[in-house]
Symmetry: C2
Amino acid sequence: MKDISISNRATNTPASAIRKLVPLADNAKKKGISVYHLNIGQPDLPTPSEIRQNIKKFDQPTIEYAPSTGMLETREAWQKFYQDKGINFDVADINVTSGGSEGLIFAFFTVADPGSELIVFEPFYTSYAIIAAMGNIKLVPIRTRVEEGFHLPPKDIIEKAITSKTAGIVVCNPNNPTGTVYTDSEVKLLAEIVHKHNLFIISDETYQELVFDGKKVLPFASFENLSAQLIIVDSVSKRFNSCGVRVGAVVSKNKEVMSSVLRFAQSRLSVATVEQLAVVSMLRNHKKYVDSIKKIYEQRRNTVVRELRKIPGVAAVAPEGAFYIIPKIPVSDSDDFAAFLLNDFSDSGETVMIAPATGFYATRGLGMNEIRIAYVLEDKKLRRAVELLGIALEKYKTRKS
Amino acid sequence: MKDISISNRATNTPASAIRKLVPLADNAKKKGISVYHLNIGQPDLPTPSEIRQNIKKFDQPTIEYAPSTGMLETREAWQKFYQDKGINFDVADINVTSGGSEGLIFAFFTVADPGSELIVFEPFYTSYAIIAAMGNIKLVPIRTRVEEGFHLPPKDIIEKAITSKTAGIVVCNPNNPTGTVYTDSEVKLLAEIVHKHNLFIISDETYQELVFDGKKVLPFASFENLSAQLIIVDSVSKRFNSCGVRVGAVVSKNKEVMSSVLRFAQSRLSVATVEQLAVVSMLRNHKKYVDSIKKIYEQRRNTVVRELRKIPGVAAVAPEGAFYIIPKIPVSDSDDFAAFLLNDFSDSGETVMIAPATGFYATRGLGMNEIRIAYVLEDKKLRRAVELLGIALEKYKTRKS
């Protein structure tokens, strides 16, 4: 009898570009090598003590299921969060999710059937590819380029990607993995296109306030004519340094969308009760804290760009937000180089882990000479980590020639 | 321009039979009516203080992402949990999930493509239908009957449901929603069938130790020839009264399955870090606590069956495990009756919420004269809740005639 086999969708689901090299990092650590993690958006900053204290304050005798919509307190807190940014949503427009990731799953599955297409700008967040594969959704990538700071191509290029199967466009602004902040004109262009072609726009707003140089993101929610088409996916992970808390939200004024999200949400019953309550106070009063970490990331951005530019053959366009950068590096196979860093390299007992950029592209062959760096370490460590990258690139070149 | 529409899969996804009437219950409560919740498996028993204390003990400055596999401590704790039941798994066979629900999603999607079939015994847990719809998987129901205590039909009936598209069989033992515990012969029969036809078996073991009358479940893990085919979905929710903690697991010795589960798991990054650590000690030492609550549910089972049988026209077969029962009741539309209980009925300011059984069947028209009761309240409340059901049935009859 033949071996039993898993589904095609499971076979076709890629591993996370960010997490697939974890076993190699574990091996390096077993050999006593310290690893600087620039591969994953896990900042070293402490979680606000308010959230940690709120977790300790939970004092109900039974930790019960929350409603599938999320707890009322938490939904109202998200509502207040948007209000403080000048955007009005009803509580009914908000469903709490287990991080932004689960929100993406619900949003993708709500708009797209097997065979449907979602337009993404590549490089894009690696989870989009995993979720699309799980749902048999086709990602249609539109290329953006390091030389252009990964800004959007002109209207005709975007419109050319639209077919009768296109369900929507997925946008992350500020962008993970590029750190690009789309300009007001770019946002308006996308708004115009989705309106004209009657598409959904899935707006991943995980990093929305983390914008540098005094700039601001123009939110899709400010376009009133898009209210039936806009689905926001949001998260507390990055803005509150609470990645392991797993609280996010899907937000839309489209009642059919929210009904779908709720029914999907019922399949997983609820989001962890203690954490939902723990983030309420921060959501209700987010500005001061988020401003404070924005300054920190802006400083780190300056450091990482300056240090990267010291390395021969590296091209780095300064990112405008979030805490990622995709530099071009002088290698022809970034996956091989990423593995080299963990398997075959160390300097004074240290190495650095990065995410090869190939995993952020849907088009085969792209990203081979690019990596994603998350600048989530304090200044001194960040400088050393980039220095290690430079030393490793030199050694890698010698090894190869 | 036509309104923008959601995907067909979203449109076809049913609402949870257990949760869809929540808005009606909220309305009843707004009118000042107390609602006894027999609709949802949310026990009133306290969460063990050990888990609640462990949550307070978390003292790392940053609440970081956990690995997508789950934290090593938590996976080892699940390993120990199975060891204590005489079953050996490697840590690599275990992936922590956000409750059993997420494990079901990963398991269904791992074995079944759009158009693939999964055999279920109806009535079945309502989330199976939601997850199948999300993944465009066809559930093929095999009917079990209240008169037979919802035990399995003979081999030929089960085999007749198998087609070239069948990916596997989903079994929940003890069963939610029926409380049936499949006998050793039934388990052996299923083991024989899946082995013969080379199918996956997805074993939902959320309630495994909650078996009454001194009986025990024969676990599928005891069949060594099934190791490549068996996928266990497990959860701390019920055995530790920790529904809102959201920790579960997918367990399989099939490496291809576990690779798929991990890639799916990477799409949602991780399960809440604090909770993963909080359940470790209970998982490592579960027996005493689980035995203690088993006794409580056995007592409640006796109460609910005795009280139900007092109601004219109600037929109740005593369930053998878990904490659910599906009685037959003298109505022709259990959905309408469930709504009546919340909209149009109260006795001394009280009513009762139950789950209409229609939502646990895939075959249209079945379950119209059945309801699911979760006996998750203390004895006195349980007696009053069943009494309310009796009074309501009487009033409902009058209203209807």
